[in-house]
Structures are given as C-alpha cells and as structure tokens.
Symmetry: C2
Subunit: 401 residues, 2 copies
Amino acid sequence: MSKVLVIGAGGVGSVAVHKMAMNPDIFSHITLASRRIVSCEKVAESVKKLVGVDIDVAQVDADNIEETIALIQKVQPKLVVNLALPYQDLAIMDACLATKTDYLDTANYEPRDTAKFEYSWQWAYQERFKEAGIMALLGSGFDPGVTSVFASYIKKHLLDTIDTLDILDCNGGDHGQHFATNFNPEINIREVTAPSRHWLNGEWVEGPALSHKQVFDFDQVGEKNMYLMYHEELESLATHYPEIKRIRFWMTFGDAYLKHLEVLQNVGMTRIDPVIYNGQEIIPLQFLKAVLPEPSSLGSTTKGKTNIGDIATGQKDGQEKTVYIYQVCDHEDAYAETGNQAVSYTTGVPAMIGAAMMLTGAWKGEGVFNIEQFDPDPFMDMLNKHGLPWQVKELDAPLAF
Amino acid sequence: MSKVLVIGAGGVGSVAVHKMAMNPDIFSHITLASRRIVSCEKVAESVKKLVGVDIDVAQVDADNIEETIALIQKVQPKLVVNLALPYQDLAIMDACLATKTDYLDTANYEPRDTAKFEYSWQWAYQERFKEAGIMALLGSGFDPGVTSVFASYIKKHLLDTIDTLDILDCNGGDHGQHFATNFNPEINIREVTAPSRHWLNGEWVEGPALSHKQVFDFDQVGEKNMYLMYHEELESLATHYPEIKRIRFWMTFGDAYLKHLEVLQNVGMTRIDPVIYNGQEIIPLQFLKAVLPEPSSLGSTTKGKTNIGDIATGQKDGQEKTVYIYQVCDHEDAYAETGNQAVSYTTGVPAMIGAAMMLTGAWKGEGVFNIEQFDPDPFMDMLNKHGLPWQVKELDAPLAF
C-alpha cells in the first residue's frame, strides 16, 4: 500500500496512471501532476470511467524545483514517477534528493538547446542518491526499459554470453494523417534527426542520420524498412554488459514519414535554435509541434500493431545461438483499454511495472540504476500479466546484416 | 521632370528605383518609403553606388491611410508607385484619392485572410478615380503587366483576332537552396496553392492546384514541367479581350519545389488561419516566411534565366496563325545591374516603364485601368531599351495541348 506521485499527463502518463489504478494493492493512492491541470483532470475522469478509481490531481511546473519540492512534501509519496519532458529530469531528481524520495523515469535527460542524449548528467547523481539513501530507476519505458530487461532475461536464461545485440523497434500503425509523430513531436524529431551511432568493439561508430536501411519482416506487421539510429539504452547496455561486442538500435520509418522529415529539415522547421518572428524569439521545432496533430489525438484513428524486441547472438553451452524476444501491441486494443494508442501504452505500462518493482521491494538499492541492473524475472512476469505479453524465438542464424 | 513616390523597398521596389534613377529626365526626384526605413536606406545606398543618384527615403506604414496621406502631402509626388504588399493596395488607393494623386501597382489586392485574387475590389474604385480626375494603372509588372502588353501588341500588329492565349512563365534559375521562393514566400505560396482556373468560352474552369502538367521547351532554358494555374491577368484579359475563347496561365516548377510545397501543406505550415502558440495567435505561413531564406538573399547565388511570354493563336488575313512573344532575362546580369535577381528585375523594370508612360503622358486617362487598355507600342519600345528585350516568333501550329 503506497502513495505515488506521477508527474506528466501526456499519453504515457495517462496509460501509467490507468494501469496503476488497476492495481490498487500496489498503488493505494495516486496523485497526477502536470503543468496544465486540465490535462490531469481529463486523465482522472477517464480513470474514473474506465477503472472506477479516484485519483488526485495537482498543478506543477516541473522546471521549478521549489514547486516540485512543495508538491512532494504535500503529497508525501513513496515514489515520484517522472513522465514529464526529458528536459525536466534533473529538476525532478533534485526535488527527490531534497525530499529523500525515490525516483523513476522513462527517458534520459537532454538539454533543451542541444539534441544530445546521454546518461552522464543523471549518472552524476549516483553518489548523492546513495548518500540520501534513495533509489533512482532510469529508463523504465519500452525502449529504453523493456528492451534492456529483455537483454537481462537473455543473459540470465537464454545465452551464457551475448556477442551481439540488436534492438528492433517497429511501429506498423497507421494514424491516417499525412504526417504526425507518435509522441511529443519535438522529442521525436530531435531523436530521429540525430546522427546514428552504434557500439562496436568498445567504441562508438557514428554515421549520418537515417542513412543505413535494412528490410525486416516483423511478426504480425510484415516487411518494413528500418534504419540504424542512436537510442539511449545503447549507452547503458554497453556500460552494464561490457561483454557485448556490437549493440545496435533500429527503428522503422515509412517513406512518407521520411519525405516529410527531410523537407521540414530542409526548410529549417526542425531547428532548435530560435528565429526572430515579429520581434520575438521562436524555436521552429516548437512551433512545428503546435501545427502538427497532437499525438494524443491520433489514438482513436490509429490501426495496426507495434512490434519491439531484441535479437541476440551469443554462446550457449559452447554453441552459437541466436534468440529473439519481442512484444506485439495492438493500437486499437491499447486505445480501448486506456484511451491511448500503443506507443503510449508500451511506454506507460513498463513505467507502472518499474514503479511496482520499487514499491513492492522486488527491486531495491541506493543510488542511480538502469533497469538492466536488476533481476528481469518479476518484471517479465508482470509484462505478461499487464498487457504486454512477449514471445521468445530461436532463430536459425544471426542477422545477415 | 516629375516627382515620384515609391512605396515598398523589397526586391521589386529596389529594381524600380534603380531603373528610375537611370532615367532622370523622366524621374527627376524619387522618394522611396517603406515600413522599415532601413530597407529604404539600403536601396538608396545601392542607387548612389551603382547609378550615382541621390534619392529620398521615408518611413510609412502603408496599412495606415492617414500616414500615407501625410507622406503624399509632404512629398507632393505626381505619381505613387505601389510596390508594397498586395494587402495594402486599397489603403494606398484611398490615400491617392484623398490627395488626388495618380496610382500604379504591380499586383492586385487580396485580403489577408483569404487567398483570393481578383480585381473586383480595385475596379470598384473606377468612378471615384474618374471623379477625382486621377488615373490608376493596375498590374504594371511582368505578369501581370508585360504579358498583357504582349497580348495588346499581338492584337495590334500580329493577329486580326485572338482565339486562344497562353501565358507561359518559366523560371529556369537555380538559387542553390533546398527550398526558397523567388519573391515574398507568403504571397508566392498563397498563389501557388490556389485552385487552377482558366477562361474557356466565356466561363471559368476550375481544377485542383498543380494538377495539370505539360512539358515545354523554353528558349535558352530548356525543357521544364509547367503547371496550369490561376493568375490575375486572366481576369482582366478576359474582360478587355472578350474575343479570346481560351486564356490559360502556366508556371514552371521543379519536382523538388513541389515536394517541399506538398509537405509544407500536409503539415499545415501553409495555413493562413492562426494557430495558438504559447498563448498567442501565429499564422503558420507567416512564421514559415521567417524561417525560409529571404528572397533578396538569393540574388547573389542565383544562376540561369527566366523566360516569360505569350503564345496566341488566331486569324491573320483569313489564315490561322500562331505567334509567340517572349522575354528572356538572366539572373546574374540582373543582379550585376541592380543587386536583385531576375524575378525582381522583370517586375521592377515594367513598374518603372508603366510609371514613365504615365509621367510622360504617353498613357493617360481618368479612372482605373488595366495595362492592356493602352497602346502597347511605347511600352514595348521601352522594354527593349531598358533591359527586357523581347522576341517574336511564328510557330508552325497552335499548342498541341
């Protein structure tokens, strides 16, 4: 029986809170806070309607550490679940330190003014969290999150050593719009337009964004073009599994998506430095976000499935072996259950499960942790029970590319 | 020896003022006014440097009729040359009425909030201009402008009757940018994204924007894709030459330009209705203008030529005959002469010539006139002498499409 404070009332926050409300034995009291209280109230209404549970709502500017501290002191949660913007991670971690409250998030910190994804800023809190006797669990979404738990599961149960690991993220959904992003367009476009990077023999190998394409046949989705990208779990997996020689991340994009992205880049609409408009500074990417469809508005029209998983090749009992763990999530089913499509669902459910791991004591520690540092079994078990069932396949051979 | 007041210090205003300064016998005193006086000062500097003539500059908000009246009263020009935004035509015409000053422009009025190009608003000034004893010359740029003078020249010298008229506007220039417009992006994109419309047997025929493509081999440019569009001179030509059964306007666009335009439309960046950004209303197309390259910045890098002309088929001495009058303008030559590329040059020179027609009395009248209502010969003569030489060809057959 624990109180939890969730900050961030977008699609992921909405899913996480719905799923927490479905597990009142673990989450006895939920407070949802956001910059716009009306967003929290909408989620609260939906939770009441779909799950029959009352939650509290609060207004907070998560950039403002003092405001967040005051809210934590008022709510007295056992855990703060940060589902706000990645820019706000450090401010919320500071508030947790000040109040000695455990912390969980789903995406690593990035500064507003450079599209740079790395754990250094958050790992730098290691000693302070340890000294405060509190725990931070970083990256408890799907990717990062489930994909790293899959890696730990492979290491624990399927392979003695992992030589190569490929994370394949496929969204086979169709939202019926010319162009839209499945989550915050600003964060999505910053990520997609960053140079590709993968881990190879102890070093990072960089390449131009979206320049290395492979075709892959995804179960229940079909053949899709996927592109080599950088994604933040590569950094933590390379750190915590030094035995892995090559770690890569792939994401599928349709030709139309890429065409739109190319043009928006060409004309400067994805810039994150300000331009002067009518005498004021406006960041083009943030204005673009205001013009594009709200990701939350896509839920009701999105059809199709996501398929995200890990392919690992390594040694088992002295033999080379390749295994594939993946999870398929249906957009329409996710929407029916929580009012959000699968991209929010596959991130929000693992946030709830990570929170459950911490609140039940299944996972504990003092300091800052990535998700692959813990026993995967109780987490994998909850995935199966709470809407994200996964499958294991043995492949005949390693990936040919 | 006449005083002229030019309003608008963009590329077209810059060219017109340079060319006026080169003809001090007609333009004895030039005042250039604009919302941003610094733009006027830049033009004045360039005119001093390239032509050795001093001009006056002034600040005016052309949306504000009282301000414009005060400026006209101070400058006491014989003619106001309006090279500002088309939204401002009516306000400037009102100021001319109030001060009984002749008026000239290059583009018809359009309201800010609907992309609608028609002469009705300006033709409605007919009686008032007549009563005031002043003259308005509408559309004295290249198209509209020269293309209508070409039609009058054809009617006067080459054909007894015109059956069909096609205006072909080709810009074979390359500015070296991913995407940019050759004049004000806001005005350009409003025009290009409007439905196509052409005149056929006394009626307007509408079609979707950019849906009817033809390939045409332009002299000194080569083969280009050109698209059926609406353009404002179609309306005045249909009115003043009721004998013409079909009048069409074609403009060339490259595939990359169209791809960029399609995406910008898809994502909503060409919308002219406001979106809410950070609590304030911003019109996406106007913000896009702030992100795209300033058309004036393209002058120094643009290479290639424009080729704009009229193809007319009709009867001459009882025989069917097809003639083609066109003008080829080189971007680099235009830039060397005036610091502006050919798109500004081909509009600014005819503005100067139209002004010369009025100031010298070659063209006179009381009321509101379109350019094809006057004798083409003195205008055609000045085109040859002032940088826009034209050619006449007889074609073997009418256009095959």
